[in-house]
């Protein structure tokens, strides 16, 4: 079994090399003479995908039959016995580094096969080179796994750990970390990996467009769907990670600017720039260099993110293992795309001259341009800030660790500015917006904005601002984080600005749907609702985009509330039943402790508190702690009680000498963040949904226009 997996992994690496050779040789022979050689390159790609599929299936089988001759299976097999056990068994594949690499490479191979399948009746120059670069990326992964032992998924288990196929001695103590045995573990990593793998394709075709000197929009049309699809999964992975951190791990928030979280965010940011540049490329024949730069940045940041999470160069809440061997390989994969594209664009600068003519800053082009600037800068800036502690001291903040408040200082004003841009972008015209047109388009949305904004400001005055004042008065770390922004007015402007931007974005974009449906209904003589339905179904890319924008508008409202106005208190109360305390408008009444000793000696304690607001009972919260007897370790288990407008997050820190200590956090508007995120995903999924007719234009590729 082990041998079979290893052999097919080697075969896969071999076929990728063969595919590269065939595609390049076929090209050098010319379109006619080289056709059969080129076809062989496609065949090799399919064969490679088959080989790594077998290799991956061997690994999956090994997990299911618990074949402990696989060291990787020994180290990552799940010991869970619940109804989800088979899923945990499966998730062992991505629980460690070697398996993650294999899984990732497999996904890239599947994407490569899909592209090859789509293009095999054309075998045009552009697709051939796109496939060649994809294979080149796979070679890097293959070399990492086959030639670097720490990355090899098919290592054998030391003989002394095995006896009749069962683990003995030291080997018996290995397995998947129990913290990972959670439903989010089944979903969070694979969704991220689908995103990571898919983002290889736009980069490969950007390189191909440079190589074959093709300025047409063909390459964008080939990869556009895949890019949106990959970006969707990347976003879903980030969201699932946030839910996991908040609900399960009880870190007290959904986002802490931890290096590993940042790692997944980096390519997502430049990915936003990428998919919007593609829109301009497809529809306006512009933003060509931007598209190429964003594609390369996104791919490079995917690898950089992985490097951060796997190399152990940065301290994080996630446990890392150091691996010096693949440092150089990953380093190469981070730098090479940037260098290749820089050289390519230098040589082909004229080719990728876009139709970027526009007359004024009040144009769609300008909005798309700032979208690009902001996303590119923030993507690379977050990357830089994440790795500063590993940099030499002569560089800005080199050798220092940058804390969450710094990201907030930059991200919050920039985020508000960004939301303003996407709020007005769809109602701006291409090239130049006449004031009269703009006014006609913004008139009704402004009414909607006023209504939403008034409600939010009312909430801010009544509920949110008092939290700011309370936290300042309370002092400590909470106050320090707020005071980093300077005087209160700065904080107020950012949060009110965020509310205004969110309200404006929701209104303008909703109005576009209403206006579009109305116009269509008039023209076609249908009712407005069915018109709206047809817009959603037929103009999927655009309506999906707009829905995502509305989602962003809702998210920013949620972020302002739940990240800027958290009431965070630690309370000491006597450990007596019936004892109560208040936080804000909420009254917590202690109802007692339920302690259970498990058969393995672990103790699970749950403290229950009845929560009421203005005398109305809301429910019971039961935070607690688990003591792992043999290890002598303790884990606090937080619990959340949700209300429509705020969450009550509670940690019970234990009780000593008749006093217990409780940490309560009240997170306002957090459901806006989750709800908006859901809408963002829905909209992106709609945009990524395949078109009925082949999206590709019939125009032959490779021709300059």
């Amino acid at each position: 079994m082990l041998f079979v997996g290893q052999v097919f992994l080697g075969l896969w690496l071999l076929t990728t090399v063969v595919a590269i050779g065939a595609l390049l040789w076929g090209r050098s022979l010319g379109a006619k003479q080289g056709e059969s050689v080129t076809n062989f390159g496609y065949l090799a790609t399919f064969a490679g995908t088959a080989a790594i599929t077998i290799s991956s299936l061997v690994m999956i089988t090994a997990f299911f039959i618990k074949d402990f001759s696989f060291l990787y299976v020994v180290e990552n097999h799940s010991t869970d016995v619940s109804s989800l056990a088979w899923l945990y068994t499966l998730s062992g594949i991505w629980a460690g580094r070697e398996g993650s690499l294999l899984f990732w490479a497999w996904l890239i191979a599947l994407f490569a096969a899909w592209v090859a399948y789509q293009r095999m009746d054309k075998t045009d120059d552009l697709s051939n080179m796109g496939l060649m670069v994809t294979n080149l990326v796979m070679v890097c992964f293959g070399v990492a796994m086959v030639f670097s032992d720490p990355n090899n998924p098919f290592k054998s288990t030391p003989a002394e750990w095995l006896s009749n196929g069962q683990l003995v001695g030291q080997g018996a103590s290995l397995g998947m970390n129990p913290l990972l045995q959670h439903w989010a573990m089944i979903l969070h990593p694979p969704t991220l990996f689908i995103g990571y793998a898919g983002l290889t394709i736009p980069f490969a075709f950007a390189m191909a467009a440079i190589i074959v000197n093709d300025r047409s929009k063909t390459w964008v049309e080939i990869v556009d769907r895949i890019t949106v699809f990959a970006w969707l999964f990347l976003g879903a992975g980030i969201g699932l990670g946030a839910v996991w951190a908040y609900v399960v791990l009880g870190w007290g928030g959904y986002w802490a600017w931890d290096p590993v979280e940042n790692a997944s965010l980096l390519p997502w940011l430049t990915g936003v720039g990428l998919i919007h540049s593609f829109t301009v490329y497809r529809r306006r024949d512009g933003f060509k260099r931007w598209s190429i730069v964003q594609a390369a940045s996104t791919f490079s940041l995917v690898i950089l993110g992985t490097f951060i999470t796997r190399s152990g160069i940065v301290q994080s809440v996630h446990a890392f293992q150091e691996d010096p061997v693949s440092k150089y390989l990953f380093g190469f994969m981070i730098i090479a795309p940037i260098v290749a594209v820089a050289i390519g664009l230098y040589l082909r600068w004229k080719t990728f001259e876009g139709n970027d003519e526009f007359e004024s800053l009040t144009s769609k082009e300008a909005a798309y341009y700032f979208n690009n600037v902001i996303m590119l800068v923030s993507g690379w800036l977050v990357a830089y800030m994440t790795v500063t502690s590993a940099l030499p001291t002569w560089m800005p903040f080199g050798g220092q660790s940058i804390s969450a408040v710094s990201y907030d200082l930059i991200g919050r004003p920039l985020g508000v500015l960004y939301v303003f841009i996407i709020a007005v972008c769809p109602i701006l015209a291409w090239r130049k917006t006449e004031p009269a047109t703009f006014w006609a388009r913004v008139k009704w949305p402004l009414v909607g904005t006023a209504v939403i904004f008034a409600l939010l400001v009312w909430d801010w005055v009544v509920n949110l601002r008092p939290i700011y004042l309370f936290m300042i008065e309370q002092g400590g770390e909470g106050a320090r984080k707020l005071q980093a922004f300077g005087p209160e007015i700065v904080y107020d402007i950012i949060s009110i600005g965020g509310f205004l931007a969110g309200a404006l974005l929701i209104s303008t974009t909703t109005w576009l749907f209403i206006d579009g449906s109305r116009k269509r209904a008039k023209a076609k003589g249908e009712n407005a609702l069915s018109s709206f339905g047809s817009i959603l179904v037929n103009a999927r890319t655009q309506s999906g985009g707009y829905l995502s924008h509305i989602g962003m508008g809702i998210i920013i409202i949620g972020l302002v509330g739940s990240s800027m106005y958290v009431r965070d208190v630690i309370i000491e109360v006597p450990d007596k039943q019936g004892e109560s305390f208040t936080v804000d408008d909420y009254t917590f009444t202690y109802q007692g402790l339920n302690e259970q000793k498990l058969t393995n000696g672990d103790i699970v304690a749950r403290a229950s508190f009845a929560v009421a607001r203005d005398g109305r009972a809301l429910g019971t919260v039961t935070p607690g702690l688990t003591q792992f007897a043999r290890q002598g370790q303790t884990r606090l288990d937080a619990e959340v009680l949700s209300e429509p407008l705020r969450d009550i997050f509670m940690v019970w820190q234990g009780s000593e000498q008749g006093m217990m200590s409780v940490n309560v956090k009240i997170n306002p508007l957090i459901w806006f963040a989750w709800g908006g995120f859901g809408l963002l995903m829905l909209g992106t999924a709609l945009a990524a949904w395949p078109k009925k007719r082949p999206a590709l234009a019939a125009a032959p590729a490779g021709k300059n226009r």
Partner: protein, 230 residues
């Protein structure tokens, strides 16, 4: 693109980028950065008083008290396995991370006070997942053979966890270290109050620092997994 639009575009881009750069440049003075320092640096380098630092260390067993507010505890360097190096006192007033406890690695960010205390505002914890080379460590057999002559000496020894012998902290003997993986051969009782390393189980080879007491119990200051078992 007409010239005026182009100039305006460049102008606005410059404003946005400079704005970001200005905020970025200010994060140091706003307390958004911290220098990575070791426990030893902080204990020795008096010039660090008043600075914001980030430091990681193992929580000294029994040094903390959750009910006091703010909570105080002590940390020592993770590599200081003999327990002879410097210790810093930490004052922490925020919510305690979920896995905090004896022997856990705490990564703290905060300010150094003139008395050398670290006033920490941020803490993240990592479970102890410690590995140590067994090279140069004295096998259990040699230790027992040495008998009386070994008492009171700080040494590093290695053995296997006797199956079924691990008990929760609080008992004089936490587990037995035996010569053989199966628990056979000579063995010695190990007294230890801290958190045992992640992954430690029956038969695991462990590396233990500490000293043999008169009563024949080896009182450990640190227990790690042997490196060969990574």
């Amino acid at each position: 693109m007409n010239k005026r639009a182009r100039n305006r575009l460049i102008g606005v881009t410059a404003i946005v980028v400079l704005g970001i750069a200005a905020i970025f440049a200010s994060i140091g003075s706003r307390g958004g950065t911290a220098y990575y320092k070791s426990v030893e640096d902080i204990a020795k380098d008096k010039s660090l008083v008043g600075e914001r630092v980030k430091v990681g260390g193992a929580v000294v067993p029994g040094s903390w008290d959750r009910k006091s507010n703010p909570m105080t505890f002590e940390i020592r360097d993770e590599k200081d396995t003999y327990g002879t190096g410097p210790i810093i006192r930490v004052v922490y007033s925020e919510g305690v991370p979920t896995t905090f406890g004896d022997g856990v690695t705490a990564i703290l960010t905060g300010e150094i006070k003139p008395d050398g205390t670290l006033l920490a505002g941020e803490m993240i914890t990592k479970c102890p997942s410690k590995y140590e080379t067994a090279k140069g460590a004295m096998p259990v057999g040699d230790l027992v053979e040495g008998g009386e002559s070994m008492v009171g000496k700080t040494i590093k020894m290695t053995g296997h966890v006797k199956p079924g012998s691990i008990v929760p902290p609080g008992e004089p003997v936490r587990f037995y270290a035996a010569e053989d993986e199966g628990g056979g051969g000579v063995q010695v009782g190990v007294g230890y109050e801290g958190a045992l390393p992640e992954g430690m189980a029956d038969g695991s080879q462990v590396v233990i620092q500490g000293a043999l007491e008169q009563d024949g119990i080896f009182v450990a200051t640190n227990v790690s997994m042997a490196e060969s078992q990574k």
